[in-house]
Symmetry: C2
Subunit: 210 residues, 2 copies
DNA sequence: AGCAAAGTTAAACAAACGTTTAATTTAAAC
DNA sequence: GTTTAAATTAAACGTTTGTTTAACTTTGCT
């Protein structure tokens, strides 16, 4: 991976925001150049093409995501459920902290044509699943978790719920219930609510009888 | 609402599929015209513009969705949890039966710019919530459901899980576990799995103590 | 048959697109 | 100070975009 200068990074950030707001095809390189305050030609000069620019964004965020995943399970002294609670919280923080990127992921995973970006997304999801599965299996064998658990569906609900909350934010923001809160506390509020909800959800499915 | 001829409908269907697969901006009117086997000018002639075409798709599906919602709660003899179970199953069937449209919804709700389409989507979600809320509240007062329930989050998980499963299908399809199944039974299999998972999830959160 | 409206077509439209060019400026190295 | 490479620019490139035009065909009605 090549070095990324400060100027390249600012282009990446602007492009990420615009791709998230208007979609890849809905954003022109001229839009990006203008908002990033650089000449149009610089985008091809630095990244090769508009497609490569998107790839660069994904690779940039993905590199951090994979490090995130690796660091997710260092503490082996925790009880299985606490491990998962910790994962959920760190997950919420991660995804809510890079909402623009998550928007791009949401959009890109819908594309039918096979793209390098889509493949990277699913590689990441598989890694997450590979991390969660052994925790569940171990706890099942220890008799702590319920026998009959669909881990794939559980992870789908985790991803899906957070991915749904991101666009819903703009709408909830208009509710009188939150209108007097400032942006930061509103966001923190929502993260708290997400955390409580998802932990309940996981605990119920993992440990309760039905 | 105007009448829709068979030719117009075939354009709508083709456009729906292409918008779902490649996104709105990723699909050209020439693509649509070619696949629908009509002249390019017919799209403007019938629908006015590309934007209006998308609106027509959304309005067409939305009309059915609102009728769907109205018919959702006729049987008042059921117990609250059974009502919700019935809702979940009908929901899964509805959404998995119009996956292309759901893809469009997923994409469109991410747009930052205020669009008539995005507003329609949220109107629909609010209606769903308005339908679920009284069932929960009534059952809470009757002591059947737990006191502390975040209905918004619960609905978010419902929508989110299904919306996540739709793009995941293409990936799961490649798993050796399902490779020998034909398309229809695979889909039915997945719907079954979704149903079991979501019912567990709802039952746990609605009725269990924590 | 004759006429008006609706349907259909190929061609053309200007605008916007992503990308490239060639010239110029800046920076670094010797 | 000269040289060499990198950075930056305005302009132009050829496509593709959504939409419109104007001519033509079909349809339905009296």
């Amino acid at each position: 991976m090549e070095e990324i200068s400060e100027k390249q990074l600012s282009i990446l950030k602007v492009a990420e925001r615009l791709f998230a707001d208007q979609g890849f095809h809905g954003t022109s390189v001229r839009d990006i150049a203008q908002e990033a305050d650089v000449n149009i030609a610089m985008i091809s000069y630095y990244f090769g093409s508009k497609d490569k620019l998107l790839e660069s964004i994904v690779k940039y965020r993905m590199k951090a995501s994979q490090k995130f995943i690796q660091d997710l399970l260092v503490d082996d002294t925790m009880k299985p459920l606490d491990k998962i609670y910790a994962m959920i919280d760190r997950f919420i923080n991660k995804m809510m902290g890079e909402q623009n990127f998550q928007c791009i992921m949401s959009r890109e995973q819908l594309n039918s044509e096979k793209s390098p970006v889509r493949d990277l997304i699913w590689e990441l999801k598989r890694e997450m699943l590979g991390l969660m599965q052994p925790i569940v299996t171990d706890a099942q064998e220890a008799g702590i978790f319920h026998k009959d658990i669909d881990v794939v569906m559980l992870m789908t609900s985790l991803f899906g719920t957070i991915h749904q909350i991101i666009p819903a934010q703009k709408l909830l923001r208009n509710d009188p219930e939150f209108s007097d809160l400032d942006e930061a506390t509103f966001k923190e509020n929502l993260k708290q609510r997400l955390s409580i909800h998802l932990k309940k959800l996981f605990k119920a499915i993992l440990t309760h009888e039905f």
